[in-house]
């Protein structure tokens, strides 16, 4: 027992345990990314894969990269992804119909071939020497070792990368910028347009949503005195998303009948 505990205490064993627990979870999450329907779920699974990789980096004596992985990827990049998801709409159309017939099976077959090739190549390659380990390279500390390399051998790529970062920031700004093609309508003009539109009903403002006294919610159109639903009482965004309930089911006479049935 003590021998076993000592053996487990050696550096290699806990890492193997870590790997065999986390690697299947990472692969499962990656596969889950492909099969879940909602983009938000994909994002969460990807965040998990990234955290797993960060743990692997730290386990492999790359402490700096592990922390950067968490800060940059799960922090900044995933946040950006979620931002865009919210902007584009959480349930943005994910049609699972195939545009090219049989694409999914072709893709899966090809990838099984590709993955098998890659793994068998890696298995046959003489990665040579036994793992050298980073104890020597990290003797002054991982961050110090990396800094020494980045600011000596890799200083030119480092500066090119900084140019790339600035270009990307400017590019994103250029893409996000758009010129206003029509003049902005001021509040004053809107008010004048309402009063001059012919009917004074528009001047009073739009009706509020909801069916008074029986059901009151932003996704139910209000009922007009003649019993027809008022389409203008619902926010245009809700209408576009299709998150609109039929107000007919809350009409007074329907509910009277229901009460009588009970």
């Amino acid at each position: 027992m003590i021998n076993y505990a000592l053996e487990l205490g050696q550096t290699a064993k806990p890492e193997a345990l870590l790997f065999y627990i986390l690697a299947p979870l990472a692969v499962a999450a990656a596969i889950g990314m492909l099969v879940v329907k909602k983009a938000v779920h994909s994002a969460i699974l990807l965040a998990w894969v990234m955290i797993t990789l960060a743990i692997f980096y730290i386990a492999q004596d790359a402490a700096f990269l592990g922390i950067v992985q968490i800060v940059v990827y799960t922090g900044a990049v995933m946040m950006l992804f979620l931002f865009i998801l919210m902007l584009v709409g959480v349930d943005s159309s994910e049609s699972l119909t195939e545009t090219i017939k049989g694409l999914r099976w072709i893709a899966i077959t090809a990838s099984v071939g590709f993955g098998g090739l890659l793994i068998s190549l890696l298995g046959r390659a003489s990665l040579g020497r036994t793992t050298a380990g980073l104890a020597d390279a990290n003797s002054n500390g991982n961050v110090e070792g990396l800094a020494q390399l980045i600011f000596s051998d890799y200083v030119w790529p480092f500066e090119v990368i900084s140019a790339l970062l600035i270009t990307a920031a400017v590019g994103a700004m250029v893409l996000a910028h758009h010129e206003r093609t029509v003049k902005r309508v001021t509040q004053r003009e809107q008010s004048q347009a309402r009063f001059r539109s012919g009917s004074l009903a528009a001047a009073a403002g739009l009706p509020g949503p909801g069916v008074f006294a029986l059901h009151n919610a932003v996704d139910v159109p209000a009922l007009l005195p003649d019993g027809t639903p008022a389409a203008a009482s619902i926010s245009a965004t809700l209408k576009a998303r299709g998150d609109m309930l039929d107000s007919a089911q809350y009409q007074l006479d329907n509910n009277d009948n229901a009460a009588e049935d009970k």
């Binding site: 492909l34 950006l80 902007l87 943005s92 040579g128 996000a176």
Partner: protein, 99 residues
Amino acid sequence: MNSANYLYLSALLFTIGAVGVVIRRNAIVVFMCVELMLNAANLSFVTFSRINGNLDGQVVAFFTMVVAACEVVVGLAIIVTIYRSRRSASVDDANLLKR
């Protein structure tokens, strides 16, 4: 444990990412799959750095992260621009040149 296991994992994750790029239609999910592929490549770099016992692999992985961050910024801006003009984030709907 053999360090090559990390390489196998990396190959597996890369392949899964590649499948995702091909079969998913939502541009944002396609993008996430590209990120997965970049991450898998990074894992290889870090593992090779350890196998060879020098830090160059980690420096390259660091640069890859910066490039990935740039790629995300510009790519998501493109997706938002396409969404603004076509009201859709599906890669199949950006087919104006075909019609």
